[in-house]
Every structure is written in structure tokens, then in C-alpha cells.
Subunit: 226 residues, 2 copies
């Protein structure tokens, strides 16, 4: 769409690859669900020819962020209620497994780091959405980065980015906020106590909760699209 398109995009100086920029724009909601992605338009916005854009779109398509129909171009994959539910269901299966493994290899230093991050999160207390999500991401990444199953971790990251993107569009309710903090604390407690099952259960709840809140929020988000 025409769109504001002020300052920052003007100096389209390649702040990153075309792929990264599109990816970020989708993830952070700057491109809306089902929005059409015209190659020539994007190309001029990015300051390149069409080919790099086409290839970036194909890659995003392979990753599932973009959907394409023959001769009808690309669209931003709508992250609707169903989609979120689907992803959450998978996360509920994967995350506990990753966490369970983490409990087995966790070091004292890891726990301290987790507690440090958690302290930052609590101090922040949701006043800065962006900072919060970054901390939250590092909290979880700390647990999974060492995992041998890179494939599972990559999947987790992709899913997380999506969930996190949609949740950021809707303010976190107060009830949910206290839940998040509580769940993190419980998780840390289980990890400290070497309680793998408890940790897995805690993380399972942690994943499921936002699913409920986010997907209801999505109803508004996608209203008007078919």
C-alpha cells in the first residue's frame, strides 16, 4: 500500500539483506497479514532490482512466512487464530523436551545467569515491550542454545518469533504478566532442584497460556480478510 513511508525507508541503505528486512517486517507486523507483496514495489523500496526480491520471497515462502499463488504473486502469511494454535500445539510438544534435556546439563553458572535475566525482567516489569521480549528470548535461548538438536532449536526459534510477533501487537494483560513472572520463577526452581519433569511441566504451561490470550486477540487482527 501507499503507506506512510517516511524518513527511514527513504535511506534504504542496505541495513541488512533483503531477506532479513522482509523477514523483520513480517515478524514485527510492519507488513500486515495477507498484505500483498509486489516485487517491483519492494524492489524500488529496497533500492535494488527485482531479482533479489524474488529470491528473498521464495526463501520466505519455503520458511512459511509468505504464501504464493501462481501468477498472482506473494502475500504475507496471515497469522490467524488457527495458525497460532497450530504452532503452540507443536511448541507444547517440543519445548518440554528441550527443557528436560537442559535440566540434565545445567551448570551453576547457567542458573545464575537465568536468575540474573529473570531479575532484569522483573525489574523492567513490562514497561518496555521490546526490551522485555529480548530478555525473554535470551532467557529461553540460554536453555536451548547448547542443545545438540539444532533442528529442533531452529524450529523453536522460528515458532517463537511468530508467536512473539503477534503477542507484541496486543498488550499483555496484567493477569498474564504476573503469570509469566510466576512461571519463570517456578521454572528456575525446578531447574535448580534438578526436577526435569517439573521443569517440563512448567514450560508446557508457559507455552500454552499465551496461546489462549493471543489467539483471542487475533480475532480482531484478521477481521476483514478472507
Amino acid at each position: 500500500m501507499p503507506r506512510p513511508a517516511t524518513d527511514e525507508e527513504a535511506t534504504d541503505e542496505v541495513g541488512g539483506s533483503i531477506y532479513e528486512r522482509l523477514h523483520d517486517d513480517i515478524i514485527h507486523g510492519r507488513l500486515r497479514a495477507n498484505e500483498r507483496l509486489k516485487v517491483s514495489e519492494l524492489a524500488s523500496r529496497m533500492g535494488t532490482s527485482t531479482n533479489p526480491v524474488r529470491e528473498a520471497l521464495q526463501q520466505l515462502r519455503g520458511e512459511g512466512f509468505v504464501i504464493m499463488e501462481p501468477n498472482r504473486g506473494a502475500r504475507v502469511r496471515p497469522i490467524d487464530e488457527e495458525f497460532v494454535r497450530d504452532i503452540c500445539e507443536i511448541e507444547v510438544l517440543i519445548e518440554p523436551a528441550l527443557t528436560r534435556w537442559f535440566v540434565g546439563i545445567v551448570t551453576k553458572a547457567d542458573v545464575e545467569e537465568l536468575e540474573r535475566i529473570q531479575a532484569d525482567i522483573e525489574r523492567l516489569n513490562f514497561t518496555d515491550e521490546l526490551a522485555h521480549s529480548q530478555l525473554d528470548m535470551s532467557f529461553h535461548r540460554l536453555m536451548y542454545d547448547k542443545h545438540y538438536n539444532r533442528h529442533a532449536v531452529d524450529l523453536w526459534i522460528r515458532h517463537r518469533e511468530i508467536l512473539w510477533a503477534i503477542s507484541r501487537r496486543f498488550p499483555t494483560s496484567l493477569g498474564r504478566q504476573s503469570n509469566v513472572l510466576e512461571e519463570h520463577r517456578e521454572l528456575i526452581a525446578c531447574i535448580k532442584g534438578q526436577d526435569a519433569e517439573g521443569a517440563a511441566r512448567a514450560i508446557g504451561k508457559h507455552v500454552e497460556d499465551p496461546a489462549a490470550t493471543s489467539s483471542s486477540a487475533c480475532d480482531y487482527h484478521d477481521a476483514g480478510f478472507d
Copy 2:
């Protein structure tokens, strides 16, 4: 384009999209692990210009079948021991969940269809690898095609294709053959008896077993690559 198009490439009649052909070639092992994928070469083989090939490669990259380095082109993602293990571990988490759900919605007709397919499989008795795998695929697809979580099913299909591709390169051992048949029978029995947990357990075993056989086979497969 010039090119008279000789014999084998003559058959380049778009038997499918470029993407599909590359995908199949990777999946079925006609392109070997780490094999270099040169766009111009592929383009002439496919009888098109380079652009469609480039885009297909990008899509495959997004799906994880191809790895790319800047200015150094694309390679077939090596399906090594680790990779197979990673995928199996994820499947062990996802498939039982899908199966459990299937037990809840299964109809009499479904069971009959499953038994019919299973009868075909037993009759075939591994004499024709290709036919067997197609039957095996339809056996499982019958269970998952109706599932609401398309995302999970798609993930399953992708993983299955990979596992299945590598397993086809190495003959199935006799012991494994009888296991497969036994596991399918057990699965059907559980489904008939509305035993969701039993079915989930059965499918879990079904996934884990080939993992063991395949990954050991992979040692040979990737020897000689770096």
C-alpha cells in the same frame, strides 16, 4: 532458447515445476549429499533459463533441503547421522500426538481402509521398495490428512520424506521388515480398540526404530565428504 535438447534432457518436458524436480532429486538421492548445485547447469538440464532455478533453490533453502553460502552457490544439504537423529527426535514428539487425535475421530471406514492398505503392504512384502513406500505413506497419511493442525502435518510430511529418502538408499533388514509389519498391526489393533495411548506408544516405537537403523547406515553414506 537455443539448445536442441538431446535425449535424456529431452524428457525435461515440464513433468513438474523446477522446484518439484529438484525436491524429488534430493529426496530420492539422485543428487547426493553436499553435491554442488550449479544454476546454469541445472537450467540447461531443465530447459529453462537460470532465474526459475535460482528461485527454486531459494525455496528449497528455506525448507532446509539446500544450504547456500554467499558467492559460493548452493549444495544439497547433507542428510547425515545427526540430521536424521534430530528429525527423528522431533517426530517422536509429534507423531504420537497426531495419532492420539486420530483415534478420537476415526470411523469404521477409516479402519477398513487402513486394513486394506496394510493387507497390500503384507502382500507386497517388501519386494518393491517404491510401491512399499507409497503404501506406507498412504497408510500414515490416511491418519493425518484429516487433522486440523495442518502445520504439524506439513512438518511431519517434510520429515517423513527425508527419513524415507535415506532409508530407501539402504536395504531394509529382514528384522526391521517384520517389525514394521508387526508395529502396523499393533497400531491398527489399538485404533480399533479406541486405545489412544496404546496407539501413541505404538507409533512412537514405529518412528524410533528406523532411526536406529538409518543413522547407522548413514555413516557410510557420508564418508568422504567434509
